[in-house]
Amino acid sequence: MIRFDNVGLRYGSGPEILRDVTFHVLPGSFHFLTGPSGAGKTTLLRLLFMSLRPSRGLIFVFGENVAELSTSGRSALRRRIGIVFQDFRLLDHLTTWENVALPLRVMGKKEADYREDVTDLLRWVGLGDRIDAYPEILSGGEKQRAAIARAVIARPELLLADEPTGNVDPAIGNRLLRLFVELNRLGTSVIIATHDYGLMEQLDAPRLVLYDGHLQLRQAT
């Protein structure tokens, strides 16, 4: 599904943030991406999401060489990926419901076909009473859950999440983790970037550990 071959990345003429990163993500797998702050977790997620180009090496997403993709080809692949950003990236002029429905709207689906699905998912993540609220009046945790709902609504083949439980209490965090696990059982590959050891210990999943620009794969203990 995802293949990184000797990928390196540097911003401009600065030092390499990522060095010789090589790994495979198989369909239906679940990985944690961890490492100290500033190790390059977000950068690696951006490479996975094709919003950054590597300075060297090859990246294959769904079997396609990212370097050879056209912009429309990249858009088509992104529709198969769900992403949760650390800063949520919700659109302030749209309601919670409209934000979550955005990927389906972009896919050209009719509103009548997904109205119930979006509402059900919002209820499931605990935002049933915030459906018509605008992001500016949501708390950090509510925004996080809305961002996660947006990432998973279209049942992506790959889910990338950057610190998805960083702003929520443990109970909600556990619930969100269950959502990710459920998605994974349905066939979605999941990569969660986090340095929340409590979260990682709840699940027997391999860890991609970034340290000093290098990546190591550690199987769960």
């Binding site: 990926i81 992403i83 972009v106």
Partner: protein
């Protein structure tokens, strides 16, 4: 084809909400309201200033097109008039009995093939033709004004003008025939020049409109950069993103175009009254009407104004689409 389908899929029923103030628009029935929330908010696209600029451009385009159309219509009518007539001119000097000579020439002309009607003009009629330039003065009677015979020809079976000309000069002294060809050529030159000037003005208006829309598109994209990024992240392609922008510009083009066209239509409606109110006098009025006819636009003329609205709207839509796609290439 995508352009046509985009126009077809445009939420036209919601256009009215864009024309009316928000409070009034909220009172409209549900089918006139925008169905789903706008991903790119209208308020972030362009303010009233852009609408005013495009409306002025449409107004100028309608005025130019209308004026060229009127000149063309008037010139066509004039050419048709003078093409079915020739004028025979009798020199009043050295003509002892001008009235007798008029009768003889008229009889001669009436016998010629291809001539439908011969109408000798009286001395008073000839003098009246000079009134717009010289005014009503008794001095006209003292002047040796040439006498004229208006000859209507059969356009489907025209006479041999050259033959008549030769016959007249052989049989009568001081008689000349004017087939108005020089006038026709001058009128055609005038209409072509008017059309060229109109085309130049329309090109400038189009260029200015494109420049304004390109600038507004760039500015709209800069102020909506966050939205574009999110759209990219959820997998929106260039067409989807450009459609979100261009529908605003299409609506803006229709609204501004309509305002400009209505203002121009009003100007054309008031033009005859304004010409009277400005009181240019007989000469000015006669000259103006000779150039642009009665100063009133007919149905086809008003349809041209509708065409301007369509062109302006399409120009806004296409320019913004190309502008957005061009900027998106740099984003990628």
């Amino acid at each position: 084809m995508t352009l046509l389908s985009d126009i077809r899929e445009y939420p036209w029923t919601s256009l009215l909400t864009g024309l009316l103030p928000a409070r009034l628009a909220a009172l409209l029935p549900a089918r006139f309201q925008t169905k789903s929330a706008q991903i790119v908010p209208s308020a972030s696209i362009a303010g009233n200033a852009l609408t005013v600029v495009i409306a002025i451009m449409s107004f100028l385009a309608c005025l130019t097109l209308g004026a060229v159309y009127m000149v063309n219509q008037s010139a066509n009518a004039w050419v048709n008039d003078i093409a079915s007539e020739i004028t025979v001119e009798l020199d009043p000097v050295n003509s002892a009995d001008i009235e007798k000579k008029m009768t003889l020439v008229a009889l001669f002309l009436a016998k010629q093939k291809g001539i439908i009607n011969v109408k000798p003009l009286t001395a008073e009629d000839s003098a009246k033709l000079l009134e717009p330039w010289l005014g009503q003065t008794s001095a006209l009677q003292a002047l040796p004004i040439p006498r004229l015979i208006a000859v209507e020809i059969d356009r489907s079976n025209p006479p041999d003008i050259q033959l008549i000309k030769t016959a007249l000069s052989e049989n009568f002294e001081g008689v000349a025939l004017d087939d108005h060809r020089r006038w026709q050529a001058e009128i055609r030159t005038l209409t072509r020049s008017a059309a060229l000037v109109g085309l130049a003005v329309l090109s400038l208006v189009a260029a200015a409109t494109i420049a304004v829309i390109v600038s507004a598109t760039r500015s709209a994209m800069a102020s909506n950069r966050d939205i574009i990024e999110v759209l990219h992240f959820v997998g929106a392609n260039e067409r989807f993103i450009s459609r979100e922008f261009e529908r605003h510009f299409l609506g803006l083009g229709v609204r501004a175009g309509l305002v400009g066209a209505l203002a121009a239509a009003l100007a054309f409606l008031l033009l005859p009254t304004m010409m009277d109110m400005l009181g240019g006098g007989i000469v000015t009025t006669a000259e103006t009407q000779r150039l642009i006819g009665s100063g009133e636009l007919d149905l086809k003329g008003y349809l041209l104004c509708v065409l301007v609205v369509v062109v302006v709207a399409c120009l806004c839509m296409i320019t913004s689409r190309l502008g957005v796609i061009r900027v998106l290439k740099n984003y990628a």
